[in-house]
């Protein structure tokens, strides 16, 4: 906790991030390069899905990161509302578009994967629908945080929304699951995949960690930019 308080000061955070960012960016590029190589050349084809199974190496980590990203928004929102943590607002502002992008990547790769597998770009499957709703929650957060002339108001309104959203997310997930079983008989042939084999699991986890690095790198970089932007605006307002 002491370390978190240390970073609460934006100027100190900036010094910290400037030291960390180059190395982190380098590590991200390296890990992604290895991960993409493994995904394309090391991982075997699926005996039923062929080469399209490789979409999974981007699709699944994106889904994880977009869900983790929303949880992060809620934690940042709580620390803004409870401790008035000055950095939390800037970081939430920086993280929301990144999380939304991962949700969008998940939806896009999912529909590209669905075309050869299920014969259609979109089905009203419970998982797809709840991911779409998560994407909408992200959009609401982004729009709300930027809807005010005073950025501080937007930050706090978005923080409240993130907390209510995180309470509602399991409820939405549950109701969409229910809705799907109610409306849709199993029209799509779902492959009941056997337990995932190591030759696929290792590249998948590697890609997940690389994309997590990418997520952290983007969020830190964008937080730094937000600090600079806020300073610039304050300086303009003062002059």
């Amino acid at each position: 906790m002491a370390d978190l308080h240390f970073l609460a000061n934006p100027a100190r955070f900036r010094r910290f991030s400037q030291r960390v960012l180059p190395g982190l960016g380098f590590a991200t590029v390296l890990m992604l390069a290895v991960g993409v190589y493994m995904a394309f050349f090391v991982a075997p084809q699926d005996y039923q899905q062929g080469n399209t199974v490789r979409i999974m190496f981007v699709h699944v980590p994106s889904a994880w990161l977009s869900m983790g990203g929303y949880a992060m928004l809620a934690v940042l929102g709580a620390s803004l509302l409870v401790w008035r943590h000055p950095l939390a607002a800037l970081m939430a502002r920086a993280a929301a578009p990144v999380g939304a992008s991962f949700a969008a990547v998940c939806l896009l790769t999912g529909s590209l994967w669905g075309r050869p597998m299920w014969g259609t770009y979109w089905v009203w499957d419970a998982r797809l629908t709840s991911m779409l709703l998560l994407f909408f929650l992200y959009l609401g957060h982004i729009a709300l945080s930027r809807a005010y002339d005073s950025p501080e108001r937007g930050d706090r309104a978005a923080a409240i929304l993130a907390l209510i959203g995180v309470i509602n997310l399991p409820i939405i997930k549950f109701s969409v699951d229910w809705w799907n079983t109610l409306h849709q008989p199993a029209s799509i042939t779902r492959l009941d995949a056997p337990a995932i084999h190591n030759s696929i699991l290792v590249p998948l986890l590697w890609m997940a960690v690389s994309l997590l690095f990418l997520f952290v790198w983007l969020v830190l970089l964008r937080t730094e930019t937000e600090i600079d932007r806020r300073r610039l605006e304050n300086a303009e307002a003062a002059s």
Binding site: L139, G140, A143, A147, A157, G165, I172, V176, W179
Partner: protein, 221 residues
């Protein structure tokens, strides 16, 4: 508690003095629903199949339409500042405003929807179920919508933003509300659906007043 009833009666009295505002919302509900048969075609079996979903969605939109002004008038004329200074909890004030909104929109919508359902060829049992699910489900819409209204207070383009915030959160209510009529058509009872709708309303009741009060406090700063 006296503050609660005072505020509730005040809001209701304000609406009674200008009944046109509620009339417009109900007229929107009727017109929006009537467009569906015109767009889809007059086959009765198709209309009966989609009736519950259409009426539920239209009720959701109609409820949202009237929410933009829920706190805006108080925000502009300074009433909100007095509510913030008042010696009783702001959470109760938020609840009173949402309850007033439900009485003037959710309740009439629930009563009107079965009448429109007749035009969609729903049978008597489905009409009852439609009214019942709306009656239990619309309080949730008022509470979640009230939160969206409080969050967008003073924002640019608050109307569209309000809908963007509230609609994803209203999905569970929509699913179980419209789903009840579907299960009825399949020959099952609707008790489960009504119970879940009531549970959703209680979750909203337990969480949103605090969030609304928090949003109003930072709007008043």
């Amino acid at each position: 508690m006296s503050g609660f009833t005072t505020l509730l009666m005040r809001d209701l009295r304000l609406v009674l003095r200008r009944p046109g505002d509620v009339g417009v919302v109900l007229a929107f509900f009727v017109v929006a629903t009537v467009l569906f048969p015109l767009g889809i075609g007059p086959e009765t079996n198709v209309l009966a199949r989609i009736a519950a979903g259409v009426l539920w969605c239209a009720a959701l939109f109609a409820a949202l339409l009237s929410l933009e002004r829920l706190f805006a008038a108080d925000y502009e004329d300074g009433t909100l500042d007095l509510l913030l200074l008042a010696p009783w909890p702001l959470e109760l004030a938020a609840l009173a405003k949402c309850l007033a909104h439900w009485i003037v929109t959710g309740l009439p919508l629930s009563l009107l929807a079965p009448v429109l359902g007749v035009a969609f060829g729903l049978d008597g049992q489905s009409l009852l179920a439609l009214g019942a699910t709306l009656l239990v489900g619309t309080p949730t819409l008022s509470l979640i919508g009230g939160l969206a209204a409080a969050l967008t207070l003073g924002a640019r383009k608050s109307g569209a933003l309000l809908a963007l915030l509230a609609l994803p959160l209203c999905v569970p209510t929509l699913i179980f509300g419209a789903g009840a009529i579907e299960t009825l058509a399949a020959g099952d009872g609707i008790v489960t659906h009504v119970a879940i709708l009531a549970a959703l309303a209680l979750v909203a009741l337990a969480t949103t007043p605090w969030a609304i009060a928090a949003a109003l406090r930072q709007a008043g700063e």
